[in-house]
């Protein structure tokens, strides 16, 4: 059938609330995670829910016809336990980098994207940020906007595949935040993460430092 995978994952968890999950997690844990689960973190849900229960879920589907917008708790595919969850959250808060000098910070299944200090220095004072609309779907490496500085428009490339959920409105009046606070207040967009493996393949901070050293010595 052609149910979106995310719907299947969420409803199976809900139906399973009267039964114990295979791995010993309490049904209430499953339910809580199901409710908070973001519809876009498909792979995580699939693993969790399949272990929870097997059920006839078609009658439960209408409950999830609305998009769940609550910030999600990132689920570990291994088990529905809070302990695994918090470890995953800590790991995902670190910055990952692309070779186009963009960074991604993953928190709760949402990726925040910005440009690195190396990039903002190479650009000069940013005077304008051309960003996509919320809801825009992006493929990894796809152009999603441009930053203007010193009469130069430089294209931005999506570090991941996903959908834009938020853009930094502060940049409209204060584009210089990209220079002054490139890792914090100068963030550009937030997006969903359709393919978590893409995050894993990006450079961590140490690898990125090495990368920019190699550029400087060219």
């Amino acid at each position: 059938d052609d149910f979106p995978q995310s719907r299947i994952a969420v409803t199976v968890c809900l139906v399973g609330r009267d039964r114990a999950c295979d791995d010993g997690a309490r049904p209430s844990d499953c339910l809580e995670y199901a409710i908070h689960y973001s519809l876009y973190a498909v792979k995580m849900a699939m693993f969790v829910s399949l272990r929870c229960v097997s059920a006839n879920f078609s009658s439960v589907l209408p409950l999830f016809s609305r998009t769940i917008r609550a910030p999600s708790v990132r689920l570990s595919w291994k088990a529905c336990t809070p302990r695994t969850l918090s470890t995953a959250s800590q790991l995902s808060a670190a910055l990952k980098f692309t070779d186009k000098h963009e960074w991604v910070r993953v928190e709760g299944g949402v990726g925040t994207v910005g440009i690195s200090n190396f990039a903002q220095e190479a650009l000069g004072d940013v005077v304008y940020c051309g960003l996509p609309e919320v809801g825009t779907k992006l493929e990894q490496m796809e152009e999603f906007g441009a930053l203007e500085s010193v009469k130069a428009a430089s294209e931005l490339y999506s570090p991941l595949t996903g959908e834009v959920t938020e853009i930094n409105q502060e940049l409209a009046d204060n584009p210089g935040l990209v220079n002054k606070s490139c890792y914090e207040n100068g963030w550009l967009i937030k997006m969903t993460i359709d393919n978590p493996a893409e995050v894993d393949a990006l450079m961590d901070e140490a690898a990125y430092e090495k990368f920019i050293k190699s550029i400087d010595s060219e």
Partner: protein, 233 residues
């Protein structure tokens, strides 16, 4: 380590419609990207018929404004370069370097600065004292003699600079050039009080460019047909 000089091929497109020049540029940019940066660096030289162009800050110029300018007899283009509104027309030397900054320095700020220095170098050769200011471009006092606006996509540059040689400066009166109020525009002819055509400015511009970017210029024929799409060399 002695750096080898980067090679740049100069292509003189002559008088060419702005839209066609855009297509030529985009094709060269595409070839850089598709060939994984093995494509030669190119410096396009040309002159346009009257045209007003704007950059990525498109919301600042309404359809009404566009029509007003078109009614004056000029074309109007919305582009992907940085910078605000400017004018191109006969008597103005337009230069579009399509460079892979990987051959030079991977910094847009550096590149724009070098373009400014190239033009200051050229003005010096004419005995004109030009300078930069907090507003990008090349100035003689409070008057801009050369506008700059570029695009950079994966370190491949397009658009470039526009130097007023013997441009009819009245076209600039219809706009606030580059969105900068209270400043004016000038040309080589105005500064030297004599007619300085585009052809006179080309050789010193090329010399200044080669000097500033520390590159070797060559003049290859890339078979650019102004009417039809660019063919492979």
């Amino acid at each position: 380590m002695t750096a080898l000089k980067a090679a740049v091929s100069v292509v003189n497109l002559g008088r060419i419609p702005y839209g066609r020049a855009l297509e030529v540029q985009q094709r060269f940019v595409r070839q850089h990207l598709d060939s994984l940066f093995q494509f030669p660096n190119i410096l396009l030289l040309c002159e346009h018929e009257p045209v007003y162009t704007i950059g990525i800050r498109q919301a600042m110029y309404s359809a009404e404004e566009e029509n007003r300018l078109k009614n004056l007899g000029a074309e109007f283009y919305r582009t992907n370069r940085g910078g605000l509104i400017t004018f191109h027309g006969p008597g103005q030397l337009v230069c579009y370097p399509i460079l892979n900054l990987g051959c030079f320095k991977k910094s847009v700020r550096w590149y724009v600065c070098e373009l400014e220095r190239t033009v200051i170098n050229l003005c010096h050769r004419f005995g004109i004292k030009a300078s930069t200011s907090p507003d990008t471009g090349v100035w003689v006092g409070d008057n801009k003699i050369c506008a700059i606006g570029i695009n950079c996509r994966m370190y491949v540059t397009s658009h470039g600079l526009a130097l007023n040689c013997n441009t009819d400066m009245r076209w600039f009166e219809n706009i606030v050039p580059c969105g900068i109020h209270g400043k004016g525009v000038t040309s080589l002819s105005q500064e030297l009080q004599r007619e300085v055509p585009v052809t006179e400015a080309v050789p010193p511009l090329l010399e200044a460019f080669a000097e500033q970017f520390n590159c070797r210029l060559s003049f290859e024929d890339l078979h650019i047909n102004k009417e039809n799409p660019v063919t492979e060399k």
